[in-house]
């Protein structure tokens, strides 16, 4: 299963190495990871998507992260009400005649054309994972020259939905 975990960490050099090293040596597979500074310049937020076999493994991931001195707070936000976004840059083959057609696709997805060449266009899309996937799928027939994607970055929505999942992870202390 895939779980989305966020961690607030001290914004010190080497902290990303500490975290990814921990994942690697304990055989947890990271699907994506994003890091950026928060409103507090001494604190960074990391968002991971990890693939694990069981909830016990998720619990172990979180506990191991918590053991790190540079980790301030860890949360599994998968089952919570969250805002999650990723970004993709897609360069497609597009002749001058096709540009209008592509522009029509871009609009409903609220994507942006950010570069136009003689025979190609580059489009930027942001959104949750399925939206980005769907958009790339639509562009595929034109011929994709290059894709660059970020992992997701996420946090909780301002209004929280009540949690009903009885198997939701609770950690003592």
């Amino acid at each position: 299963m895939k779980r989305t975990i966020t961690a607030l960490v001290n914004n010190t050099s080497g902290v990303l190495n500490r975290i990814t090293g921990l994942f690697a040596r304990r055989h947890y597979n990271i699907e994506s990871i994003t890091v950026g500074v928060t409103e507090n310049p001494s604190v960074s937020r990391m968002t991971f998507v990890v693939a694990v076999d069981s909830m016990q493994n998720v619990e172990q991931v979180i506990k191991q992260l918590n053991k790190q001195v540079d980790v301030l707070k860890v949360k599994d936000i998968t089952d919570e009400s969250i805002v999650a976004r990723e970004l993709a840059l897609v360069k497609i083959v597009a002749s001058p005649q096709q540009r209008g057609e592509v522009a029509a696709l871009v609009n409903p997805f609220r994507a942006t054309i950010i570069d136009v060449g003689r025979e190609s266009m580059t489009i930027q899309i942001t959104g949750d994972h399925p939206k980005v996937e769907a958009f790339i799928d639509l562009l595929r027939p034109y011929g994709i020259k290059e894709i660059a994607r970020t992992g997701i970055t996420a946090f909780n929505r301002s209004t929280k939905k009540p949690v009903t999942d009885p198997y939701r992870l609770t950690l003592i202390n």
Partner: protein, 575 residues
Amino acid sequence: MSTKLENKELETVEEPKELSGSSMLIEALAKEGVEVIFGYPGGAILPTYDEIYKTGIHHVLARHEQGAIHAAEGYARVSGKPGVCVVTSGPGATNVITGIADAMIDSLPLVVITGQVATTVIGTDAFQEADIIGITMPITKHNYQVRSVDEFPRILKEAFHIATTGRPGPVLIDLPKDVSLATGLFDYTKEVNLPGYQPTTIPNRLQVRKVVEAVMAAKKPVILAGAGVLHGKATDELLAYVEETKIPVVNTLLGLGSFPGDHELFLGMAGMHGTYTANMAIHESDLLINIGARFDDRLTGNLDHFAPNARVVHIDIDPAEIGKIIETEIPVVGDAKHAVQMLLDEQSESGDTKAWVEKLQGLKEEYPLWYQEDGETIKPQHLIEIIHEVTNGEAIVTTDVGQHQMWSAQFYRFNKPNRWVTSGGLGTMGFGFPAAIGAQFAEPKSPVVAVIGDAGFQMTAQELSLLQELHLPVKIVIVNNASLGMVRQWQQLFHGERYSNSLFPIQPNFVKLADAYDIKGMKVEKVSELKGALEEMIAHPGPVLLDVRVAKEENVYPMISPGKGQHQMEGVKPQ
């Protein structure tokens, strides 16, 4: 020797002063009450060694950095205080890796200072540069590279705090040469402020009450006491709790000494070479109370058969250990002392366990640890028994890993805490002898016996130099079977007796080696000479090396073979 200073008094009267990085280090060591440091100088750490020269802090010059770090581990294990090790950059630093990994897995508090090339050349593959931060990230509790002298006091204070609180562990500080020469304001009065590091020491009372209820309901409870009981200094509380509740106790390898070895409710060590009774107690228990053990695979055997009928309670200061290996019904996060004291406060009796205790005591009688005598050939188990006898069970015993380690664990009964220093988790050959040197520093008056295999001894034998130089009365007993004993045993049992590179057909003359270092050396080959030689060894005021030629093909039994469960022990009785 000691530059011990009272922390609190200093903090109130001392003004921050301008110091160099290296003098900050010495100052901080004094404030932390560090009496001795183990180390080895080199280029990048020279300013620190210059400071050591000036201030006269007690420094033990090992003959290899590996010796220094294992000595620091031995000191930490016996004293309960952090072991401090100072080495240079590059090879100096990489030579302490094994000891750091060993301390990490066995939860020993260490503060390791490594020199580093100047910040101006870090990253250029400079002379004696190694990325020690990257290398030690997975094997330290935390590590630091000091980028500026201004942050050094804070880092030093944090390092000692992290190493010694919560679950103890090694902390490394990488000190670039220019930082150790630069000057800054030394202010050691500030409180440690680490929001990301807040170990829970006081357990949740509701969780403790659940344990109490589980104990009342249990018919076959058993306590598994690990090294966490020793680190948490909870041995008195554990004894009191067991005497109140009459719950039998088994130990892990590293937990030996946390409960009196000759107590009627003690069942022995559990695990691969534990007692049959201890393993069967876990196997048949309906309640397993783990206090400060991490369910190592050498303890559990095949997990599919581990404690199949037991409700599991796990008390540990490290929440990440709970549920890591064994699903836990009642987790209790806290240190052993508080947790067991809380249990004691809540509980003075248990359910009806009389039949259970009687059954286990019957097993204990029926399946004692055993070996067969063989004329004048010295059996290693017999050797350990006699060491126990001639030291009245009072010695600090250190070992490497392997057969001699298991025989020591089986046949030396530990009644007191902090008398057993062994490389448990990492299983480090070459550990025991230098660890004995550190142990002797921690307890200068106690007899210290390093029980070492002939192979492991040859990995760090150069530290013999220290015994003579420092007048350390460490007694070395080489359990000499001219082989890598445990490797040989496994090759015999699981590799069709193909002894690939595990036998030493030619052995050095260990007595002459001792002589070369001006140490009393003796060799024993016959049972009839054994006790006399050991008595002579103990009576001798200085260091002694005793080369004991034991039965070469003796195996460690009983044994859980790989893949087998705890109830499938082999060799529980003589054939």
